[in-house]
Symmetry: C2
Amino acid sequence: MAQQEARQRRPSIHDVASHAGVSAATVSKVLAGVTTVKPENAQRVFDAVERLGYRVDPLASDMRRAKRRIIGAIMPEFESEFFGSMVTELEGLAEQRGYTLVAASSRESETREKEILARMHDWRVAGVVLAPVRNEHGPAAAFMKAHGMTGVLIDRVLSDDAFDTVSADSAAASAEVARMLIGNGHSHILVIGLAEQAATVRARLEGFRSQALTLNPSVRIDVITSEVSVEPLRSSLRDYFGRGERPTAVYSLLLKGTLVALSEFRRRGWHCPDDIALVGFDDAEWMQVTWPAIAAVVQPVRQIASEAMNLLFRRVEGDAGPPTARLEPCQVLMRESVGSPGSGPHSGGGDRQQPPLS
Amino acid sequence: MAQQEARQRRPSIHDVASHAGVSAATVSKVLAGVTTVKPENAQRVFDAVERLGYRVDPLASDMRRAKRRIIGAIMPEFESEFFGSMVTELEGLAEQRGYTLVAASSRESETREKEILARMHDWRVAGVVLAPVRNEHGPAAAFMKAHGMTGVLIDRVLSDDAFDTVSADSAAASAEVARMLIGNGHSHILVIGLAEQAATVRARLEGFRSQALTLNPSVRIDVITSEVSVEPLRSSLRDYFGRGERPTAVYSLLLKGTLVALSEFRRRGWHCPDDIALVGFDDAEWMQVTWPAIAAVVQPVRQIASEAMNLLFRRVEGDAGPPTARLEPCQVLMRESVGSPGSGPHSGGGDRQQPPLS
DNA sequence: CAAGGACGAAAAATCGATTTATCGATTGGA
DNA sequence: TCCAATCGATAAATCGATTTTTCGTCCTTG
């Protein structure tokens, strides 16, 4: 290959055409793999492409089609492992199909979410993977509907009458957490969450509550939620403990809640799992190295991303069937923060030593 | 505003032109703010734009210019808080200037990094913010040089003869860590890192070592690094401790190393800061809520992003001055994992209780 | 031997905006 | 009064590809 004019205008399809002694149309056809071109001419085109280091301009290439080979991805934030790896996965899947992924952060704002969507509409993206800030009924989904955009909703959604949805099966995972906590003898459990993300948080709460009540009808389940941000949640939690409430376990419905709970435990000098057990929805890399390791529900990021892209491209290719609502199963990782199975709550000072070295 | 044909072809500038009874050129000029248009006609254009809900197609608009209003961002990964918030910041700054940010993950692979760069070159991006996998001398930077791309290198870089660089002042921060550890009486310190990221890791190591030796010439500093991934680092660390080595403090030069150190401490049943102190380069949200809270060097993400974008746009606008190398100051957060100031190493069982409630 | 296909490739239209060249009308100066 | 300068706006070229239409050969067949 040749580098030629290092910093000059890049060669266009016409440059290739004239070097190969054919028309631009022929070059386009050769590169598109059309077979009605004389092998001799095709070879000359390939040679010219090689010599000039020619590459198709995706922008110009997309001009004529109604749907550009661009997929938009809108996430509430980029700072967390969950959305970070979601973007990584989506990027790879889009790439595999020859599409470019353009990711944007709505920064937990529905207003911004809609603005970004409008901008992506300006770009005539072929489709959008939207992880809405609140749920499937926000202004962004309405915008997509009104403008006939194709898209898939993920994460904080359950089902929709216009778009395919893909999310973690929060309810089933929460039920499993309930089985485990009740099985360990907990009878007073605090659940914390953000009500704003109504769709999934409610599913998690109900999945947990119904299973817990089935296994132990007399279990006491307290719930603390806050509307918008986590700070009110923190102060509610502080008040709650301050009133002398003393649940034996806490189930946090979201990652930031797990952090808040941990910091409040620290503040009061409580240790997991001896003083109080903790399980969080959403796993993070650090949770397995802290002491104690934090039990967590692991969301199936790869499966969600892969299923979302499959559904999206089916729609992009014209499928007009009724929207589907997928739930991908989670994994519940039992770690030290919930104690060993069978060890009841407040079962003594516990063993603060670690397991012996292997 | 009108929604009109919800799912039809979007109106083009010609639709606006015919509705306003003027030519497309006039519409373009009105929207570009050219003043040589009769106010009456301008008003008709604005009315038509409003009525049709017209918005410029950024793709078509970019066709004619050599540099499109797109900025590329290449990060080694999206999963960490650092690069996640870096992308968020860069996105906002690009947006402010009317540019679209296209972010891609090189997944810690230099091969992929170069492929992504080539694809961005295909898109004729105006500029690139590259956080190289290894350092400023990789194939990606060479590609940018060879093709006359404009760009800025950030994070794992020190300085370059072709591009502006912006990174955290690792050396100064590491010196501060050294001052703090030596000041606390530590005389046997282990430093761990990944040698692959040569540029910055070496700076951090040297910044630490020289300051430490200045303050206490007889201090013992052990260094464990691994070439590529963290797993070899883990086993080296395990061997090291297995041989009976017992430093009183560990300074990890990277986030993943902090996690490895923590998990090895757990494995051996050691607690911070009583058994061993720990400081990590790179802060994370969870570090302040674990017990103990982990001391860390906080990188100035906003400053790096902002400075990088300033420099980049200066270049995009044609500035051809010599490349600059910026170092942004870090903040060192002293948390419980290093004990209280003055408390020497191995100073007894320590107080495992928390500070009193406020 | 002339008309009808088949084939391969070039010419031209297209996508949607921007920019340059052109043109008509009005105004100004000589 | 006539030509020139000015103003405002339109026509046309342009960006780089794709797709449709047209065109010229060569081959086949009646």
